[in-house]
Subunit: 601 residues, 2 copies
Amino acid sequence: MLRYPWIYLCLYLRFSRLFFMRYSKLFGRTKLEAPHDSDSINAKYLTQAGFADKLTAGVYYFLPLGLRVLEKVKNIIREEMNAVEGQEILMPSLHPLELWETTGRNKTADAILYRTKGAGDKDFVFGPSHEEAVTPLAAKFVKSYKDLPFSVYQIQTKFRNEPRAKSGLLRGREFGMKDMYSFHTSDADLDLYYERVKEAYMNVYRRCGLTAYVVEAGGGIFSDKLSHEFSVETVAGEDKIMVCKKCNVAQNLEVAEGKIHNPHADEKELPMKEVKVEREFNIEASAKAHDVPETKVLKTIIYKVGGGFVGVCIRGDLQVNEYKLGKFLGAEIRTASPKELEELGLVQGFISPVGMQNVTGGPKHKPGEVAGAEGLSFIGDNSIKEVKNFVTGANKKNVDLINVNVGRDFVIETFADFLTVEKGFKCSKCDLPLEEIKAVEAGNIFKLGTKYSKNFDLYFTNEKGERNLVVMGCYGIGTTRMVGTIVEASHDEKGIIWPKSVAPFLVHMMHLGEDEAVKSEAEKIYKELLKAGVEVLYDDRNDSAGKKFNDADLIGIPLRITISNRTLKEGSVEWKLRNEKDGKLVKLDKVLGEIKDFVNS
Amino acid sequence: MLRYPWIYLCLYLRFSRLFFMRYSKLFGRTKLEAPHDSDSINAKYLTQAGFADKLTAGVYYFLPLGLRVLEKVKNIIREEMNAVEGQEILMPSLHPLELWETTGRNKTADAILYRTKGAGDKDFVFGPSHEEAVTPLAAKFVKSYKDLPFSVYQIQTKFRNEPRAKSGLLRGREFGMKDMYSFHTSDADLDLYYERVKEAYMNVYRRCGLTAYVVEAGGGIFSDKLSHEFSVETVAGEDKIMVCKKCNVAQNLEVAEGKIHNPHADEKELPMKEVKVEREFNIEASAKAHDVPETKVLKTIIYKVGGGFVGVCIRGDLQVNEYKLGKFLGAEIRTASPKELEELGLVQGFISPVGMQNVTGGPKHKPGEVAGAEGLSFIGDNSIKEVKNFVTGANKKNVDLINVNVGRDFVIETFADFLTVEKGFKCSKCDLPLEEIKAVEAGNIFKLGTKYSKNFDLYFTNEKGERNLVVMGCYGIGTTRMVGTIVEASHDEKGIIWPKSVAPFLVHMMHLGEDEAVKSEAEKIYKELLKAGVEVLYDDRNDSAGKKFNDADLIGIPLRITISNRTLKEGSVEWKLRNEKDGKLVKLDKVLGEIKDFVNS
């Protein structure tokens, strides 16, 4: 007893969760039909299999099976937050309204706030997030640089009045969340910690059996952004993202950047020449007419922007990303109509910036600047910078220019990334081809800086005795949403396929038929598993094999062990993994050992 | 690895909570001053020691130390609920208002409900209790008697708009609670389960280091009541209760029943006689005048009840409990004025029922019956049933009656318990003397019967195919309140004294002074303790011995280990238990072993 005290501590902790259960006694068994109103795979399977149940839109009960999964997810998160020295606390949901007035989020977040009145006619908000709670708390304890850095987190219920709750556990009005807040003396210290948390988040997803990517929210990979999202690959995700499976980074399609091959940079510039052509009005036809690859065709698209026009030049084989373009110009955009092109003196199918710049003299562009009220100006995608000897139209019907060179034959003052990144583009970091996947967002992290410190007078005194604002970061991951995300990522047409790390039980045992010899063998194995501390769900019902197999597939426990007359004739049980098609027979005297191996593998 | 798979499971679970901490890194350290507005010992110590912090009245943060205690309390509760086959679930806080309209509690509990409006102008209530949530959930799964009985519980946050939040964690507006609900085919089955839960609750209190008593809410011990409270002995509790420390039962003072000694039952009845006396108007004087003990004096007190009067006869040494009397009569009562006594033909100081019954002919009384509109009637406390040869007044000035016997000389139709039970009275069950203690309520259990089943159509089909309402019980225990209660029950003038089972850490280690040899020895022991899996808080600060000792006393961890120059000179550390006055020296090579013994004892 003295030699291994921790064993007893462990036993103590272990028994605080039941690790075995008879299915006949379980509250929340499978339903024959999926709920008619389930709008997602996770809602459908979690409800039908008895993990969760909807009370009202966006508000779910967790039944015993579901709570077991949720607790395992929470523990994985807890361990990873502890590993980056996060200290667990618990903050209230009831926030006096004054706190939210202090930050102004009573207005900016008004739509999602649940409000109430308490005793003495006092106004409260039910916390949808806890910056307003944690910052004044920190201000009570932080005086000096010696009190920094630190990081606190909680795993707690959040309330958000989502206009449209949807996708089962993915977008709820009441949901579980881990939110961590870190406090630093400088941006540099926050930056270091932020990267550690990013790693910790990736560990969480990996340990939950998920493939996750870091997505720079609203920016490319290398831009200096203040927040990141984590996207998890799923079959039917809401978002499409471009990912590099080597770098584990991902980009929203709209803003994705990618590296492009640059084939013609080394050519010598040849003299520009006008050539008569008869061709169709597209890039493929241009390339064919001049016997060049599409990469040598200069594509120019004219957009109506504000009161004027902008021509965007891009390499012929590439597409303009209008989201990027609109964001760059800071304005609504649309392609110019044939009539507008005509008024600008442009000839459809033969548009080119060559010779048009002096004519129209449009303004130069910087990011965020809308084109001038009138006129036409040209900007270029980075893809045209290095290409030599372009083919393009000559702004005359059936006349093209060849050997057109940027800088020599036309001037672009502003280059930027207006590229639509597609499958097959290379990662700008590692050169591997990017892949397009469907994903759901499963966490996000923010560099808050001093926004909230300023609101709540959270200062510290540095080594020189100067008072400075504390620099903050925050890090959120939905715990109940994670449960839904795992189901979205891991299922088949029969039901859920739980990763071992978060499965409600590791073994789903059952007997078939009502033969007493079979039942008693099953009971024996069940009891041996209990003794060995294996988490086991025992389907002890006298239902048909079909019903019991279907339920096991629906519930999705990793290992199914079946005992029947047929297997006993072979002195065996049937062993089947949920994520494999076929089972095998395992001899009775080997089964316990093999199950233990499986559990520990 | 294969031999003890559960060890690895345990290790896994164990690391999900940090079990060691340097005090210099801890978020939420001690404060020099207790909060000026703390209205209770638990609020004062928990705040000053850095376990909790008030956000607003009745709403607290739990800091790392406090959360550790809370989690240990929750785990004890969880284990005991699992032991009575409770299955843990998690229910939402957001309840559609319709659910509360269904039971009518939107009106009866209106004052404590936090209400809000959600998307689509939908009304919600934040659950102060979960009968309205669990009953419709059960109705989705219960069809037949085969689905019963079962019991589900959750450990979750409750919201109650208490008119006056007070006493720190004892009466909050947002608080943690374990609420369990059981479902049965019959009252008899509920009764059996109810008793099992009662035992489980007593285990919870015992394991949390508390002395608890079962109190029949609003009734005596043996009455057939539908709910029970659990009262925990504390120094400054809000309630006074009478307890039998053997039977572990307790009674609210107002309704307490006790056994009384009955000294004169065996005497022979003697002839009644009138005697002239000169005496004062009290029991002591009567006893002295006739040379009898006070137990032989018949005391009669006249009360004004409705339009008439009731005389209550009780043994001279006992006091009438006006709460019991009022409840029995179902009316407001007050003692009659001298003028009213005169009008009734009674002589103050010489009142007696003898000869008055035929004169006034008041109505007979049954429980809950108010006295008739007019007249005077007599009822008796059980204490006078067996006494022979009473002394009493003769309804004439300066005349007493002796040898008065109930039934022979006056008739009492209605006997009941009108006794004020005091310290020293014997337990009606076991004969041990009752004690009066201060206590706080720390849990309650209810037989709900079919009230909620009826509201939510929760029926089952029995063996005969008949549809019956499911019978329900519910069982509540405040988890955050428990933390406060433990502090109320276990502290001294220096701070908290945590029971080992719920202490945030088991060992509070510190070094004194800044001597490197001392610090390095302390670090060594700290690391050994980590390796041994001992939960340890290490005060690694360079503060004064006084500050560090005071903080240790305030925080209240069971074992304090101090390493200083002085102890190292003896090759020792100082060992001091928080609940003992003096420390001792323990040799360095023994300390790890002794700490392990302490942890496992």
